[in-house]
C-alpha cells in the first residue's frame, strides 16, 4: 500500500514545485468538413468542433479534482486548414472568416487555445497554402485564442526557401498589425521544420493527416520538480546527476500518462501520445535555465550550456519513455525566453545571446522560442534566422521551430509584456549584417544526403 512519505512527495511536487499537467489537447480531424461553399464549410467546422469537444473542459476539470493535480490548459488541434479550405476559400478575407470560426468554436467549448490554422509547405506551396499564409497578418489580430503554424522544411524534402522568405515578411507584417497594449500576435505563430503530427503544445499544435478522427494528446511539465531533485546532488558525479533526472522524469510522466488514460476513457476518444516536455513557466523555480545553473553553470549561456542541456534532454526522454506506452510530439526541454524567468535573467545579465540559443536548439526540442527582437529587424534577417533553424532540423532529423516577436518601436533592452503564463521578454540584439542576397534567391534547398554523417 502507498505510504505517507510517497503521498507527501507527490503533494509537495504539486503544491511547492509547480508540478502540473500542462495540457490535454484533443486533436480533431476536419477532413470531412471540406465543402465547395464557404458558409457551409464554416458551419460544419463549428459543428464538428463543438460536438466532439463538448465535454473536454468539464472532463479535464473533474480529473483535476479527482487526483488533485492542476491541468493548466485544455486545448484543441485541428487538421491544417489549408488542406480543407482550398475548395472554397479564394481570398484573404475568406481565410479570416475561417479563422474567426475556429476562434468562436474554441470559445464556445471553453478551451484555452485552438491550433491548426496551418500550412504544410515543406516542398512547395499550393494556392491555398499561400493564401492562408498571406492571411495571417489579418487572421491573427482578428482572433483571440487561435494559433497558427507553417512547416517550411523537412529532412525528407529539404527547405522551401520561397516559404521561408514569405514567412519573414509575414512575421514583420503581423507585428506591425499588433496594436500597442495588445497581446503580441506573433506569439501565436510558429514556423517549423519537421513539424510533428501529434504535438499537443501551442502555438504549433495541429492534427496531422496521419491521425484518426479524434485523439487525446497530453503534454506534461515539471522543470520545478527536476530542479528540486537536483538540489540534493550538488557536486555529485554525472552518473548520480543523470539517474536523478531520469527518475524524476519517470514520476512526472506517470502523472501525465494517468491523466491521458483517464481523459481518453471518459471522453471516449483514443489516447494518442504523451509529450515528454519540460515546459517552464514564469513562476520562480519553474525554469529550465535554473536546472542548467544547478548543474554547475554560473549563468545559462556560459560555455558548457549546450552539453548540460543535451544531458538534461536525453535523461528526460530516457526516464519518460518507460513511464508511458506512447511518446510523441516535441518531447524534450523547451527553452523559451519569455516563459522562463531564469532565461530572462540570463539574457539581462548578458550571458545568453541569440547565437547561443541557436546552438542550444541543436540538442533540445523545438527551437528559438518566444524571443523578442527589435521592431526594425528586416524581414530578410528574420527569414535568415528561420532558414538557419530549419537547416539544423533538416540535417539533424529533428523538429526545430522559430517563434520571434518583432517589438515594433522598441529597441534592445526594452521589455515586451505578454502576461499570464507567457511572462515578458527582453528585446534581444540580432546580428545586423545582411543576408538579403541569400534569402532573395528563388526555389528550395534540396533534401540532405543521409550518409557520410559528420
Amino acid at each position: 500500500m502507498i505510504n505517507i512519505y510517497e503521498v507527501n512527495e507527490t503533494n509537495q511536487m504539486i503544491e511547492q514545485e509547480n508540478l502540473d499537467v500542462r495540457t490535454i489537447t484533443m486533436g480533431i480531424s476536419l477532413l470531412g468538413c471540406a465543402d465547395q461553399d464557404l458558409g457551409r464549410l464554416c458551419d460544419s467546422i463549428y459543428d464538428r468542433i463543438t460536438t466532439q469537444a463538448r465535454d473536454l473542459v468539464s472532463v479535464g476539470e473533474q480529473i483535476e479534482k479527482d487526483y488533485g493535480v492542476p491541468i493548466v490548459n485544455k486545448r484543441i488541434s485541428v487538421t491544417p486548414i489549408s488542406l480543407i479550405a482550398g475548395s472554397c476559400a479564394r481570398s484573404i478575407e475568406d481565410y479570416v472568416r475561417i479563422a474567426k470560426t475556429l476562434d468562436r468554436a474554441a470559445e464556445a467549448v471553453g478551451v484555452n487555445y485552438i491550433g491548426g490554422f496551418s500550412a504544410i509547405v515543406s516542398k512547395g506551396m499550393t494556392e491555398a497554402d499561400e493564401l492562408l499564409m498571406r492571411s495571417l497578418p489579418y487572421a491573427l489580430p482578428a482572433t483571440n485564442c487561435m494559433c497558427s503554424s507553417v512547416n517550411v522544411g523537412s529532412t525528407k524534402t529539404g527547405i522551401n526557401m520561397d516559404a521561408v522568405r514569405l514567412m519573414g515578411e509575414i512575421i514583420v507584417e503581423t507585428a506591425r498589425n499588433t496594436k500597442d497594449g495588445d497581446f503580441p500576435h506573433c506569439a501565436k505563430l510558429v514556423v517549423f521544420c519537421n513539424a510533428p503530427d501529434d504535438n499537443p503544445f501551442m502555438a504549433g499544435a495541429f492534427h496531422g493527416v496521419s491521425e484518426p478522427d479524434a485523439v487525446i494528446n497530453v503534454g506534461v511539465s515539471g522543470p520545478g520538480v527536476v530542479k528540486t531533485a537536483l538540489e540534493s546532488c550538488r557536486g555529485e558525479s554525472f552518473e548520480v546527476l543523470c539517474e536523478t533526472v531520469k527518475k524524476t522524469a519517470f514520476k512526472i510522466t506517470r502523472v501525465g500518462q494517468l491523466v491521458a488514460k483517464e481523459a481518453s476513457e471518459r471522453l471516449g476518444v483514443p489516447f494518442g501520445i504523451i509529450d515528454l516536455s519540460l515546459a517552464p513557466t514564469p513562476a520562480i523555480g519553474d525554469s529550465v535555465a535554473d536546472i542548467l545553473e544547478l548543474m554547475g553553470l554560473e549563468s545559462t549561456g556560459a560555455p558548457g550550456t549546450t552539453a548540460a542541456l543535451a544531458l538534461l534532454n536525453d535523461q528526460v526522454k530516457k526516464g519518460g519513455i518507460m513511464a508511458s506506452s506512447y511518446v510523441g510530439g516535441l518531447s524534450g526541454a523547451f527553452i523559451p525566453v519569455s516563459e522562463d524567468q531564469g532565461m530572462i535573467d540570463a539574457v539581462q545579465r548578458g550571458s545568453l545571446s541569440l547565437e547561443k540559443l541557436e546552438a542550444m536548439t541543436c540538442v533540445c526540442s523545438v527551437g528559438l522560442d518566444m524571443i523578442a527582437i527589435p521592431g526594425d529587424t528586416p524581414a530578410s534577417t528574420i527569414s535568415g534566422i528561420i532558414a538557419d533553424e530549419a537547416a539544423i532540423g533538416m540535417i539533424n532529423q529533428k523538429t526545430t521551430a522559430v517563434r520571434l516577436i518583432p517589438a515594433v518601436g522598441k529597441k534592445v533592452g526594452d521589455r515586451v509584456e505578454f502576461g499570464g503564463l507567457f511572462g515578458y521578454a527582453p528585446v534581444m540584439p540580432v546580428n545586423s549584417f545582411s543576408c538579403e542576397g541569400f534569402i532573395n534567391r528563388k526555389g528550395r534547398i534540396p533534401a540532405p544526403i543521409h550518409s557520410f554523417k559528420n
Binding site: 505517507i4 510517497e6 502523472v255
Partner: protein, 90 residues
C-alpha cells in the same frame, strides 16, 4: 475497491482525527490505513479509505471534508489513489 487518499496538514489540535472519522462513519466510508508524522513542526496525516460503499459521491466527500478542515483550521485534501500508485509503483 475504490480507494481515496485523505491528507491532513496543519497545526495539531484536539479532535482533528475524531472529526474526520465521524464524518466518514456517517457516510459508510471504511478506513483501511492511518499514518501520521510531524514534518517541520506541522501535523501531517494520511488516511487510505474505501469509498465503494459510500452513500455520497467523491466530489461531495471532498467538499465535505474541506468544510471539516476549515472548522479545525487544517487543510484536508482528497485524491484518488491512482495518482500515487502511478507515480511510485511500476
Amino acid at each position: 475497491m475504490n480507494r481515496v487518499i485523505i491528507t491532513v496538514v496543519g497545526k495539531d489540535t484536539v479532535g482533528i482525527i475524531a472529526g474526520i472519522c465521524t464524518y466518514l462513519a456517517e457516510h459508510n466510508i471504511n478506513i483501511l490505513d492511518i499514518s501520521q508524522t510531524i514534518l517541520q513542526g506541522i501535523f501531517n496525516m494520511m488516511m487510505i479509505v474505501d469509498i465503494s460503499g459510500a452513500d455520497i459521491s467523491f466530489d461531495t466527500l471532498s467538499d465535505g471534508l474541506e468544510t471539516v478542515g476549515t472548522e479545525k483550521s487544517v487543510t484536508i485534501k482528497c485524491q484518488r489513489e491512482e495518482i500515487f500508485t502511478s507515480m511510485h509503483r511500476i
